[in-house]
Symmetry: C2
Subunit: 161 residues, 2 copies
C-alpha cells in the first residue's frame, strides 16, 4: 500500500493542488459501479493476501468449494459455475491435481468426460480454508456491523441473481 502523498513541499501547496488528499474522485461519489469496484478490490485483495499463505488464488478456493459440494461433476459444469472458459478450467484443475488436492476420474458412461473429486488432502484443506476465507471477509468489512454485513450480502445477491 503506497502512502497517499509523499510530497508535501511548499511548491505543492503554492500552486493550487487540491488540499484534501483523497478528494480528487469526489465527482464519482454517486456512481454505484465506482463504489462497488473499489470495495471489491479491497475485499478481493485482502483475500489474495490471506490465501497467499497457502499459495492459492481465490478462484482455486472457489473451485475447491464447488467440487467439495458437487463431487463427481464434469469440467464443463465447473467452468460454467466459475464463469470461466473451458481452457481456464484445464489450467486450474491441473494445478489442483498437481498439488494433490483434486483428481480427474474416468467414471462416467460418457467416456469423453471426467468426474472431478477432492482428495482427502483437498477435503481437509477446504475445511481449513472455509474458516480462513470467512475470517478474511470479516476483516475486510470490519467497518460494518454484523447487521450491515448481512444487509450488504443480501443486496449484493439481489443485484447479481
Amino acid at each position: 500500500m503506497a502512502s497517499k502523498r509523499s510530497s508535501n513541499t511548499a511548491v505543492d501547496l503554492e500552486f493550487a493542488e487540491p488540499q484534501a488528499d483523497n478528494a480528487l474522485d469526489s465527482a464519482l461519489d454517486g456512481f454505484i459501479g465506482y463504489a462497488m469496484r473499489h470495495a471489491q478490490i479491497k475485499v478481493f485483495q485482502h483475500l489474495v493476501n490471506k490465501l497467499g499463505t497457502y499459495d492459492l488464488r481465490p478462484a482455486q478456493f472457489t473451485a475447491l468449494a464447488i467440487i467439495g459440494d458437487n463431487p463427481g461433476l464434469m469440467q464443463v459444469d465447473l467452468a460454467r459455475t466459475l464463469a470461466i472458459e473451458p481452457p481456464q478450467a484445464v489450467t486450474l484443475l491441473n494445478k489442483l491435481e498437481t498439488r494433490g488436492l483434486a483428481v480427474r476420474v474416468r467414471c462416467k458412461p460418457d467416456k469423453r468426460s471426467y468426474g472431478i473429486f477432492l482428495t482427502k488432502a483437498g477435503e481437509a484443506l477446504l475445511e481449513q480454508l472455509k474458516d480462513v476465507v470467512l475470517q478474511s471477509d470479516l476483516e475486510a468489512t470490519a467497518t460494518l456491523t454484523e447487521d450491515e454485513r448481512q444487509q450488504l450480502l443480501a443486496l449484493l445477491q439481489k443485484v447479481y441473481r
Copy 2:
C-alpha cells in the same frame, strides 16, 4: 444458444442470465467476497457494453471525470487516484490525447510535469457520459428499489473508505 459470447460489438446485450445451473455454488452463499465479485462483474460488464458505444473503457471515463473535476492535475496524482501505476497512466492519457479529449500542458514551475486538462470536446463528451454511466448503474441494479440502491451505495463506501 447457450451463453456464448458471439458478439464483441458495443450493442452486445446481456440476455445471457444465469441459468438454473447456479445451484452448484450454494456452498459459497455466505461469503461476502463471492457475492461482491459477482455483483461487481455484472455491473462492470454492463458498463463496458454501454461505454463500448463510445469506444471507451471504464477507466477512461473515470479518468475524464477526475480530470474534469481537477483541471491541471499532474499524471502522478491521476495515477494515484485511479490506483494504477504511472506507466498505465501514460497509456491511458495517450489514448485520450490522441482522441482529442484531453491535453498535457507544460504549465508548471516544475518542468518535468504536465498539467492535464480536458479539451472542449472532452468536456462535452464527459457531460454526455455522466448520464450514460448513471443510466448504466440504474439498469445494472434494476432489481433494487431506489432506497436499496442508496443503502447499497452507503454500505459499499463504508467498506472501502
